[in-house]
């Protein structure tokens, strides 16, 4: 599609009552082949429309915009997106976070949370349309990158029944709809690697086996295999998929290269089968690694990297900075988020895998930010439960 036709085509869809964003989501494969300029035109259209919605339906956000002298008249194309006022991510933790809503509470269908080391949860509230767009968007990315429609998933995270609102669990559990068999092995804050080995061995020869969970739990399994000199043989197309951060609650960071190498050695899979994902509970998407371990951003979402000394200045790909996310899939609150993450974008928009997109590399939390995410909170809680059990045994 020609560059100038993108906006017209999407406007026509809108004109006949169809959802342009839904079309983009279901056309992900094609859009990943578009050139950067075309993708930017798409983002410019979708995000400016979404900005208009929040400006018109959110008293608090409109006030923020007026204070910044920005109105929908100022946001027309991709080149204007950087002017859109953003919400600092810690606002989702505040007691008055209801002000962020662009829809009335009685239209909210689902509350999702992430809790860091402070214990204060970040709450994001989604209405029915936002839940649709969030789920379709994540599934589109899962299908595009992994092509799962069968197989078995060893889930190294608690079942959603135990933690129904935890963002990481909700996103990872979506894989269950793509597999024939799944097993959640974190029960009541406890994980036994021996059970994981047993499940994987039982599935051998029946399913292509995948391991899915936060890095610290996959790491725990691999360390157990290493300690006991056990080498598993997973399958030709097996994947190890991570979400949830590489920093542990103790402050120690799991080395990605060591992790890749040990997964390869003890699970007998290529290092390229180890895939990490990046996402925020406050936004509706995941950036997912392809076989070249480049994290692809959904092409309807825009990542803008800002100079950490002056967040009004964008920095070019290759330069590190604070991540600002413009996500047009949210209708219930403005998902124009100033994160607390330090990242950079790969300089080449075109990946060896054939996809064209922004590719994000996560570096660290910004100085002074709470070190926290679902995974860290889960690990901390599991550690506390384990310590408690140990001390109870000693007392006996």
């Amino acid at each position: 599609m020609k560059n100038s036709n993108v906006k017209n085509a999407f406007e026509q869809l809108n004109g006949v009552g169809l959802n342009p964003l839904g079309t983009a989501i279901t056309s992900l494969k094609e859009i990943f082949t578009w050139e950067e300029a075309q993708q930017n035109e798409l983002k410019g259209y979708l995000i400016s429309q979404n900005f208009k919605h929040h400006y018109e339906n959110n008293v608090f956000y409109q006030k923020v915009c007026k204070e910044s002298n920005v109105s929908p008249e100022d946001i027309k194309t991709f080149d204007d997106l950087h002017k859109i006022p953003v919400i600092p991510v810690n606002m989702f933790k505040q007691t008055d976070s209801h002000m962020l809503l662009s829809k009335p509470l009685n239209e909210i269908e689902f509350e999702m949370r992430s809790t860091g080391t402070s214990g204060i949860p970040s709450l994001s509230r989604r209405d029915s349309d936002t839940v649709d767009q969030c789920l379709f968007g994540i599934y589109a990315m899962y299908r595009n990158i992994f092509k799962f429609s069968k197989g078995a998933g060893l889930f190294l995270f608690p079942s959603p029944e135990e933690v129904p609102e935890m963002g990481m669990v909700k996103a990872l559990n979506m894989f269950s709809g793509l597999f024939d068999a799944t097993k959640c092995l974190v029960k009541r804050a406890s994980f036994k690697p021996e059970e994981a080995i047993e499940v994987l061995e039982n599935w051998e020869g029946r399913h292509t086996r995948h391991i899915i969970g936060p890095p610290f739990l996959v790491y725990k399994l691999v360390k157990y295999l290493k300690k006991n000199n056990i080498r598993l043989n997973l399958d030709k197309n097996s994947k190890v998929i991570n979400l949830g951060g590489w920093k542990r609650f103790t402050g120690m960071e799991i080395s990605r290269s060591e992790f890749n190498q040990e997964c390869s050695e003890y699970l007998n899979i290529p290092e390229s089968a180890v895939r990490d994902m990046y996402g925020l509970v406050e936004t509706n998407g995941l950036s997912i690694e392809c076989e070249f371990q480049n994290k692809h951003v959904s092409p309807w979402t825009h990542f803008s990297i800002r100079d950490h000394k002056d967040i009004n200045k964008e920095v070019r790909p290759g330069r590190r900075g604070v991540l600002f996310i413009y996500d047009p899939t949210s209708l219930s609150y403005p998902a124009f988020i100033q994160t607390e993450d330090l990242v950079y974008l790969k300089e080449n928009h075109q990946c060896e895998c054939g996809r064209n997109s922004q590719q994000v590399v996560y570096l660290s939390r910004i100085k002074g930010a709470e070190i926290g995410c679902c995974a860290i909170n889960l690990e901390k809680h599991m550690d506390e439960v384990e310590q408690k059990k140990k001390s109870e045994k000693v007392e006996l």
Partner: protein, 122 residues
């Protein structure tokens, strides 16, 4: 999903904030999901004359904190203890199964307040 009682108290809470010269502070929290409520209470002998809360968590738990604060203001400990279990359950209106944990939060708030009976104003 949300009944009108929860919508009203979440969207227009009347008792958010802190009391600097509080006589009692109640804290309840859940380390996994993170629902946390702090309620500051000001006493005049055995009467509660003011209550302010800070709540972090789902909309229903924030509304619960507001409903509880509103209920206890102006009452004595004895009057608060006299409320029946059925009346307490009705305070939050009809809840979805996913919101039922807020009944436990409400119960815990009443229990914690009970523990302070006999405390006097500073």
């Amino acid at each position: 999903m949300y009944n009108s009682v929860i919508v009203d108290h979440f969207t227009n809470p009347s008792n958010t904030g802190e009391i600097t010269d509080k006589d009692i502070q109640i804290k309840i929290g859940n380390s996994v999901c993170g629902d946390t409520i702090f309620i500051d209470i000001k006493l005049d002998r055995d009467h509660i004359i003011n209550a302010k809360f800070k709540a972090y968590g789902c909309a229903t738990s924030i509304a619960t904190a507001d409903i509880f604060s509103e209920y206890i203001i102006g009452k004595s400990f004895k009057e608060i203890q006299d409320i029946s279990v059925t009346e307490r359950k009705e305070m939050l209106g009809e809840l979805d199964p996913s919101q039922m944990h807020c009944l436990h939060i409400l119960e815990e708030l009443f229990t914690k307040l009970d523990e302070h009976q006999g405390d006097t104003a500073c």
